[in-house]
């Protein structure tokens, strides 16, 4: 059974790019969400093995969504995938229980390395 990943990003282009990278590596994209609120709701329905989450999104940002998901499921595997690389955000995310912090623009290998390690450690 392939591992199931949920992709969260407000940009359709990024969701399609990450989906292609993951599917070519043998993962299943269980679902997508375009803001943090939708991600929290869809996580409860889909229970994916991991979540790749953007930060800058309308309605609810990715850090808040990651905290909500980890509050309801402390074993959730959440990775941030964002254009923001400020040290305070990275620390905030890691303290919240996020497994990895990938900065855009990224090479496909970086995403696969992050997801692979996070799932391996889960």
């Amino acid at each position: 059974m392939p591992k199931r990943i949920m992709v969260v990003d407000d940009a359709m282009f990024m969701r399609a790019t990450v989906k292609r990278i993951l599917e070519q590596a043998g993962y299943e994209v269980a679902g997508e969400a375009e803001n943090g609120q939708m991600a929290v709701e869809r996580y409860g329905e889909l229970r994916p093995d991991a979540v790749l989450m953007d930060i800058t999104m309308p309605v609810m940002d990715g850090i808040s969504a990651a905290k909500e998901i980890l509050k309801t499921d402390p074993k959730a595997v959440v990775l941030m995938c964002t254009a923001l690389g400020q040290q305070n955000l990275v620390i905030d995310a890691i303290k919240a229980g996020v497994k990895d912090y990938i900065v855009k623009p990224f090479q496909p290998e970086r995403v696969l390395e992050g997801v692979g390690k996070a799932l391996g450690a889960a």
């Binding site: 940009a11 359709m12 282009f13 399609a16 800058t56 923001l84 690389g85 900065v103 855009k104 623009p105």
Partner: protein, 158 residues
Amino acid sequence: MKAEFIEPFVGAAFSVLETVTGQKPVRGQLALRTSTFTTQQITIVAGVNGNVEGVALYGMSLATATRIAGAMMASQVDELNDMALSAISELGNMVTGNAITRLSQNGYDVDITPPSVIKGTQVEMSTKIPALVVPINTPFGSIEVNVALAEVAMAAAA
């Protein structure tokens, strides 16, 4: 506007464009723009807030936007459809995100708003303060990086 505010955006644009298109850009001459101006065919608008506030605008022709979107999508793009517009918007998000990461390394506490894309040449834009502009030339066409940022006076601690 402090000239030091534009350098993180130019550096970020160079770095992001080279990564997503595989082509090295060339920097043009710095200029000052009046606070009211008319947009190019495609303008990506990203807001910056925190102890530095304002806006970053990335202007380009429709042909340039279409070619860059094609390079980002690694496919032939003939028109700026929804997916191509999303790619161009994400370019603005990545450049601005990368730039404010650089600003934060210089001691500023800043965040960005999700970018918007404006299509059309007859749109009059107004920024609070005059923008600094740096054209960046790429094999896909020229992109104008416009940055209008000002420091916000923080209230003194009680």
